[in-house]
Amino acid sequence: MTSVGTGYDLSNSVFSPDGRNFQVEYAAKAVENGATSVGLLCEDGVVLAVEKLVASKLLVKASPQNKGSGANTKIQTVGRHIGCACSGLVPDGRHLVNRAREESQQFKQLYKRDIPPVALADRMGQYVQAHTLYNSVRPFGVAAIFGGVDPETAEPHLYMLEPSGVYWGYRGAATGKGRQSAKAELEKLISSRDDNSPITTLEAVKELARIIYIAHEDNKEKEFEVEISWCSREHTQGKHTLVQGTMLEEALEYAKSKTSNAQDDSDDSDADSDDAMQD
């Protein structure tokens, strides 16, 4: 990378001579190395799924029985109707969601309605962008996928926000280490459907589980778990809910059966990795 090491990469608020903000690009690197997150816009709602790299054998395990996530839930809720999946630095993601929750609460206090996903994405975009302007702060090392059903219009929405503060609306979004293969799978999935047979959340839960398994294939040596959540007009009354129990079991079964070298969750790789922060 030209200009790296020339001092222009040491601070926000300083452009390099070729017009780049290196700190933001480095933040994006943190995201690229993070665990994979995906989201899919469906006919009746949205589904989010994340790959959870198991940083230590000592961590509590997730299973469909213990609410699908055990003690270590990664996907978070904003208000009742929006879900957020983050890739990159976990603590940055937590902070971002805390801010999103404040925005959601403030919006509802003033306007007496749940914040539409687009408004949340916009406000979070402004917040994240502000962290690229000052040398006293560091940009966020996360990409966040926000998805939910707008209760006023009953329309589902999906947005992805990046460390630069930019956000776009997506039909299918993927970020993190396995994003390339995940994106390819999402594209295949979306283009295989036409307007007459739009994908439903019920199907998407299984498909996203499969996509997380595929996205993990380049990273096989690491043990992982899959966490899935959904917002559906019919099935969850628009509320953001973790997928649990038999529904999760079936999705994981489906994912394993569809991936060629289906690995078992409990393989004996040494998972005590040094990049524990990067999930």
Binding site: Q109, L110, Y111, K112, R113, P116, V118, A119, D122, E152
Partner: protein
């Protein structure tokens, strides 16, 4: 008063107030807002042709009662909020407009005397809605609402004569008769009767003069 000892409570006492008769009624095609046109300072009529029906958004209007200054200030601030809201998120619902009114009147209840009716036509839901926001800043969704000093005299009339799903002409007559009675018995109400009709097709203003409504 000697020029320095200006007491806000003195000012409040001599305040220009809308000792008013206002109402808003939903009907099958939308909503009608109605008001008298009298503004008083004590017993003196400061303005006999006041317009108490105020636009907040294209199809969200309000009827103002209480202090003229307070309600104008509040309406202006709500209008600003909704303009901002529209530019970011699109047309606000009537409920959202009412919520912004509520926030202002509830948070400043010690300082304000404002009794407001918010009414509008919702193009998405294809119907009219009415919210009453009395003194303390509570919000009440209603089929129709009456407020102001003159309303005390027409609770019985309105309760007996209001029907759900009236047509536009019936509703105009209902509002006209109701306000005519309120004006007749309330010294703080008078002048002309102004109506604003909010429907699918837009905004329509009507006006009725004393000669027309006094002998209904």
């Amino acid at each position: 008063m000697n020029g320095i000892q200006v007491d806000i409570n003195h000012l409040k006492k001599g305040e220009v107030s809308l000792g008013t008769s206002i109402m808003a009624v939903t009907f099958d095609g939308g909503v009608i807002l109605g008001a008298d046109s009298r503004t008083t300072t004590g017993a003196y009529i400061a303005n006999r042709v006041t317009d108490k029906l105020t636009r907040i958004d294209d199809k969200i209007w309000c009827c103002r009662s209480g202090s003229a200054a307070d309600t104008q200030a509040v309406a202006d601030i709500v209008q600003y909020h909704l303009e901002l809201y529209t530019s970011q998120y699109g047309t606000p619902s009537i409920e959202t407009a009412a919520a912004v009114f509520k926030t202002l009147t509830y948070e400043n209840k010690d300082a304000l005397s404002a009794g407001i009716i918010v009414a509008g036509y919702d193009d998405k839901k294809k119907k009219g809605e009415v919210y009453s926001i009395p003194l303390g800043g509570s919000v009440h969704k209603q089929k129709y609402a009456i407020a102001g000093s003159g309303s005390a005299f027409i609770y019985g009339y309105c309760d007996k004569n209001y029907r759900e799903n009236m047509n536009k002409e019936e509703t105009v007559e209902f509002v006209k008769h109701s306000l005519s009675q309120a004006i007749k018995w309330d010294g703080s109400s008078g002048g002309v009767i102004r109506l604003v009709i909010l429907t699918e097709s837009g905004v329509e203003r009507l006006i009725f003069y004393p000669d027309e409504y006094e002998n209904l």
